[in-house]
Symmetry: C2
Subunit: 212 residues, 2 copies
Amino acid sequence: MRLRRDRRAPEYLENDERVILNPQDFKGNWKENFGNDHPIHVEFGCGKGGFITELAIRNPNINYIAAERAETVVYKACKKANDKEDIPDNLRFLYFDVNNCKDIFEKGEVERIYLNFSDPWPKKRHAYKRLTNRGFLEKYEYILAEKGEIHFKTDNKGLFAYSIEEFSAMKWVMKNVTLDLHNSDMEDNIMTEYEKKFSEMGYTINRLEAYK
Amino acid sequence: MRLRRDRRAPEYLENDERVILNPQDFKGNWKENFGNDHPIHVEFGCGKGGFITELAIRNPNINYIAAERAETVVYKACKKANDKEDIPDNLRFLYFDVNNCKDIFEKGEVERIYLNFSDPWPKKRHAYKRLTNRGFLEKYEYILAEKGEIHFKTDNKGLFAYSIEEFSAMKWVMKNVTLDLHNSDMEDNIMTEYEKKFSEMGYTINRLEAYK
């Protein structure tokens, strides 16, 4: 998601407790940051943040970390989360490049990774930038706990097909695969802002879960 | 494909050289049946036979075996193939239950298996009948040569999603995956009769190749 830079972002981000400006300092110590032993679920590319904020409200016994690369996106997502009255203290926002996720998380520190409507980077020469590229999958494998899972959804047929190839080539097992999420068995799907908009326009949503 | 039984079928099938009534007698000896050393490609569920007949015409250096369970379907497909003027002697028709494929082919005897628009058997209790069920995949693995491949296409989203799960669980590698075959890079796609009809109705076609 591209947004115009917001001048209010830096000050807000510096002063909000949900925002972690120095995430690498918590590598291996995220449970201390949250003050409990609950499992850690991460969303790489949280966009407007509606998905992970709703998860945090529904599941107070899970710790959520939402990541985006762009400062302004994090600012908007965090502000929106803070506007909710009922949100517990189990949600953090970070901004960093997913390429550096091993600098932020220790081996096996994360129980689940959400990838929602990631940038499809449709040109072949940009394939390495897709968040399901095998280079990323290796990093995810490192930070994920045993039996940790990736939950991935996208409306983009090309990205979904590519991702199946990458998961398969890297010997991940895929389960709960659907090519039409909104007409599937899944009952507790939380729609992202993007998902609401594009499914209303008639796009079908693809989804899968993968583990090593 | 269900067809009314055709009374002419038995006599035709008995007298046509393309039809092999005793396929189990050729187990391990298909190359002798064809009289050459060319690779053997099989279609399980050939329906009206247009796909494999066109392949046989295009690729005289490959031996093709088309299988269907129902006598009448084989009869129609075979008759249609014989009506073509330019068809070489590299195509055989059999009727047998794919469950019994290990009675027909020796270990490693087949280079490629085509599964086109297989019955989706949408009810969960019928999942074991789907031709990409893991029970079938184990049999395919047995009859396929090293580096042998399954080429699978379907318009049915549920069957495609299920098949990805099954291939993945059984550690097959999937490649050339597409969720929209007719808008993909694949240039030499041969459409089946079913595919022509349903893609004209607006259904997108899913396709993948898998190997162990």
